[in-house]
Amino acid sequence: MIAQKFEYTAPKSLDEALHLLASGAKPLAGGMSLIPMMKLRLASPEHLVDLRTIQDLNFIREAGGQLHIGATASHYEIESSALLRQKCPLLTETAAAIGDVQVRNMGTIGGSVAHADPAADYPAALQALEAKFVLKGAKSERTVSAADFFVDAFATALEPGEILSEVIVPIDDARTGTSYQKMVQPASGFAIVGLAARVRVNAGKVSFVRIGVTGLSNHAYRASGAEKTFEGKTSSPANIQAAAALVAQGVDANSDLHASADFRRHLAVVHAARALKTALSRIA
């Protein structure tokens, strides 16, 4: 329960941090995943760069018709943000479902997303929101979509020396309903499966659907087959069920002590239907 020795720097500016990261240091945000791994000596970085001391990374603001969330915004800051509650309730609902109070006080969206735990909550919502991630390096800046960001278990599009500096999500109008539905792994609080749904209805038909899935496979993904099936249909229970039935299609499902692959697939379908139903019920 004691980490190996390492060097620690708390830079004041993003540039300073990026410079250190370029020479091989590892970023530390809330530390909710990294520090337990270091204590168990499953991770032993030689140099940690603390991103929480960089003021420029901590914000939640609206600009250009989108919502911008800095990497070190904590789950609690997101959960309790009046702006997000009004303009992106899916994100506040998801943040509130993470871990526990203490973890939400300390853990950050950037840390969670960059860690890319296949059972983390945010990635489902960020897939459904078609979020964009700003990745910065010492000499580079690029924007990557959620669809391209999550590559594998604990693997993302981040290159060595890059950090995730900002998450950008769209502002939905009142005709959009969203929901995050999760089956909780009772020991860790992570998702066995987590389903995020985002739907719009126009003239009695479902005009827009996005479904994000976490926990089921090696990384979060959008269930596009299910989305396509549902779009253009009425929101009848039978149509919800038919769409939900497709969320696990073609997916190589995870299996562990807490849920076999078959059970996970089944839970994904059940929670997809619940998420769609709840999202539809929330359309103003």
């Binding site: 980490a3 708390a10 530390g31 520090i35 337990p36 940690l48 603390d50 109070v101 203490q102």
Partner: protein
């Protein structure tokens, strides 16, 4: 490296190894042994303290990360010998048995009431998700938080 922080109103400027956990700073350097280590994985909550007004798990934070912070531990709650209402409620309602989880439980309970002055039973239980007690079955703890909230609202 050298850090500055305040614990229970008192300033400390220790020179610490970066890997020193905040809980070990509190226990071994500041001598405040009320905060307990119950696990390695940030899941038991026995080490909960307040950092800049927020309940956090001090076993999942390095002391260097707390540079410049104000920390309150269970030892800092009673003022002039008068117990904090949450402490008093834990006592009255028998919200503890072996007492090992209690400091963390009290700190988490304070956060619940600070954010929600009249929590329902469900909200209390949800707010204690990150704290394990192996003795009480939580019922008397729930009663204690209810009682403390009711008392604070008076």
């Amino acid at each position: 490296m050298n850090i500055n922080l305040k614990v229970n109103g008192k300033s400390y400027s220790p020179d610490v190894e970066p890997r020193l956990l905040l809980i070990h700073f509190l226990r071994d350097v500041a001598g405040l042994t009320g905060t307990h280590m119950g696990c390695e994985t940030s899941l038991c909550g026995a080490c909960t303290v307040e950092l800049n007004g927020k309940a956090i798990k001090s076993c999942t934070m390095f002391a260097v990360q707390a540079n410049g912070a104000e920390i309150v531990t269970v030892e800092g709650l009673a003022t002039n010998g008068k117990l904090d209402p949450v402490q008093e409620a834990f006592w009255n309602e028998h919200g503890l048995q072996c007492g090992f989880c209690t400091p963390g439980m009290i700190m988490a309970s304070k956060q619940i009431i600070e954010r929600n002055p009249s929590p329902t039973e469900e909200e209390i239980r949800h707010g204690l998700e990150g704290n394990v007690c192996r003795c009480t079955g939580y019922q008397h703890i729930v009663n204690a938080v209810k009682a403390a909230a009711a008392g604070a609202g008076k």
